[in-house]
Amino acid sequence: MSLRNDTKPWLSGGFGLVILASIPAVLFVGALIFFTVWVVTFSFTDLSLVGAKSVNWSWIGFDNYERLFTRRGFMESLWVTVSFTFFSAIVGQSLLGFLLASVMRALRGPLRGFIEVAIMLGWLLPDIVAAFLWSATTAENGLINSVVLGPLGFDSVNFLNEFAFPVVVVANVWKGTAWSYLLFSAALDSVPRDVIEAAQVDGATWWQRTRRVTLPMIKSHIGTNTLFITIWTFTYFPLVYAMTGGGPGRQTKVLSIFMYEQSFKIGKLGYGSAISVAMLLVVGLLAVFYVRLLKEPE
């Protein structure tokens, strides 16, 4: 064809070159698949971290998966994880992020900058530092007890012990709201001012404008946000582990902590792999659910 450019892109030079150029991609995808296949494979074995079974492991079929349901631990942790994800991410971060984003739109000047920086700080702090801060704040001789409860004459409370789950939820809301805030700020920018004003002329109150105009218009953003924070929170490990180690008891033992303990503290790598596969399945199902939800009705 005469339309063909004289200077060929170098990639069209030949088959060998194409293969050469695709090596990094193949390696990358290969590594991803390798680890998944590794985990799936060993979830059907009794591989251990140490001892005889770390070398002479054997196939045990679906035993590990059976244990997920018959032995104590997995179902309890699944429930903790689902509650943790629901309260700290889907309700806490999403709702707070959206409310902050809507309120801050009306705000201009230094106050807005100050609040935005404050929101970001939680996000930017390393998980371990954040965990330490929250422990120090809520401990028996921590900030809340010595500054608020003490002067008011109350006995000091070890929040991390007595209200472990709520404290962890609040800490994660504090830590992760910045993401939802940013995403919803961008989403609200995509809603034309005219449309909101038209609703105002039509007689919609702030709540009606939000519920019947704004929210439906940013539906896809809500879906994307929920998808992301669900995946992140469902597999979230460091903040919770550093604050409570999963305790007291099983109160804050999310699946990632449970998996870590089974694999590396107790040393049952095979069982740990089965837990990982189960987590993958749950998150995968949730993702499919959200993506379905996002589809525009025709």
Partner: protein, 362 residues
């Protein structure tokens, strides 16, 4: 149908005053067009009437009631936005019904009103579609339909045709005129397009830098512009503005141009004239030397039914002449123009029109 009264209406954005003070009475049933260049305050004024913008000082009354502190939805207005501002997630029917629904109108009543409006605007087949499945013209009809359904006392249009292509714009313009005639409602219409202003308006309000330059019927503004701004803004082709020096020769005022040309003024008020304004259509082309202004042709723009002849006068000023048909003129040819009596405008040093028996009303 209600009148709208603005008295001393002023708007500040922070420390910046964008509208100093506006007094205007829009009569019930009238279609008034706010026209002016970008940033003249016309949209701000409309938005203040709508209740979407706070009034800094002064009062706005609709139908005799002061509405400064009344919410937009309770003012009895409906607004058509430049971007149409349809709710993208609702069907055409839902878009039009939304306001009534919020007002808890019975379902049967909503259905009737929406269908009626849809019939007027010929959008009945589109009622189940979403805005993204509509063309620009159809969207604009839906936006107008949404306004009609509210049965407002005053319709507000904010540059409603700007996003349409030229042919659709002409068509929709005629439809809005029809609508005004059949509904008999008060309408306020904002545009920067003087053609829309001329063709639609009962009265035009020309705005510049937040001030009203002139209020009048389209023909008043065309025939008797009060200043050079209005003269330049109202008309398809801007008025030719020539710098002149006035000289009193025994009671006759003679206006002298650069290059030696002289024109005898028709009014003794022209003694203070600094600018002579002549519309391109208010002159006739004559053989060289047969008229007071002479120059050479620089460009001829043929528009079919008429043509614009750009010429450079002997004094160096540019001058445009509009002639019927397709004149056979070579570039560089020397021609003269003669003035149509009674059609020239003279302005003083401040740009104000000098006209006999005129009291300047703004």
């Amino acid at each position: 149908m209600s009148d709208v009264l603005l008295s001393g209406v002023s708007k500040d954005y922070g420390a910046v005053n964008v509208i100093p003070s506006i007094d205007l009475h829009i009569k019930a049933g009238e279609l008034v067009v706010f026209v002016g260049p970008s940033g003249c305050g016309k949209s701000t004024l409309l938005r203040m009437i709508a209740g979407l913008e706070h009034v800094t000082r002064g009062d706005i009354s609709i139908g005799g009631t002061r509405v400064n502190d009344v919410a937009a939805s309770s003012r009895g207005i409906a607004m058509v936005f430049q971007s149409y501002a349809l709710y993208p997630h609702m069907t055409v029917y839902q878009n039009m019904a939304f306001g009534l629904e919020l007002a808890r109108t019975p379902k049967a009543e909503i259905e009737k009103q929406v269908r009626d409006a849809a019939r007027i605007l010929q959008i009945e087949p589109l009622l189940d579609r979403r805005p993204k499945a509509l063309s620009g013209g159809q969207r604009q009809r839906v936006a107008i339909g949404r306004a009609i359904v509210r049965n407002p006392k005053v319709f507000l249009f904010d540059e409603p045709l700007s996003n349409l292509d030229a042919s659709l714009r002409g068509q929709t313009r005629v439809e809005i005129a029809h609508l005004h005639h059949s509904l008999g409602a008060t309408m306020i219409y904002v545009t920067h397009d003087q053609t829309e202003a001329m063709t639609l308006a009962d009265r035009i309000v020309v705005l510049n830098k937040g001030n009203i330059e002139q209020v009048g019927t389209p023909l008043e503004l065309y025939g008797k512009p009060v200043n050079t701004f209005v003269a330049g803004f109202i008309a398809n082709q801007p008025m030719n503005m020539l710098d002149v020096v006035a000289e009193n020769r025994g009671g006759k005022i003679v206006l002298k141009l650069d290059g030696g040309a002289e024109i005898e003024a028709e009014t003794p008020m022209a003694e203070r004239a600094r600018t002579l304004g002549i519309r391109p259509e208010d002159v006739v082309l004559v053989d060289s030397g047969k008229g007071p202004l002479t120059g050479t042709v620089s460009v001829v723009e043929h528009l079919g039914e008429n043509a614009l002849i750009h010429m450079t006068l002997t004094g160096g000023q540019e001058f445009i002449v509009k002639v019927d048909g397709a004149p056979d003129l070579a570039i560089g040819a020397e021609v003269s123009v003669a003035l149509v009596p009674g059609r020239a405008h003279v302005f003083d040093a401040n740009g104000h029109a000098l006209r006999e028996g005129d009291t300047q009303v703004a």
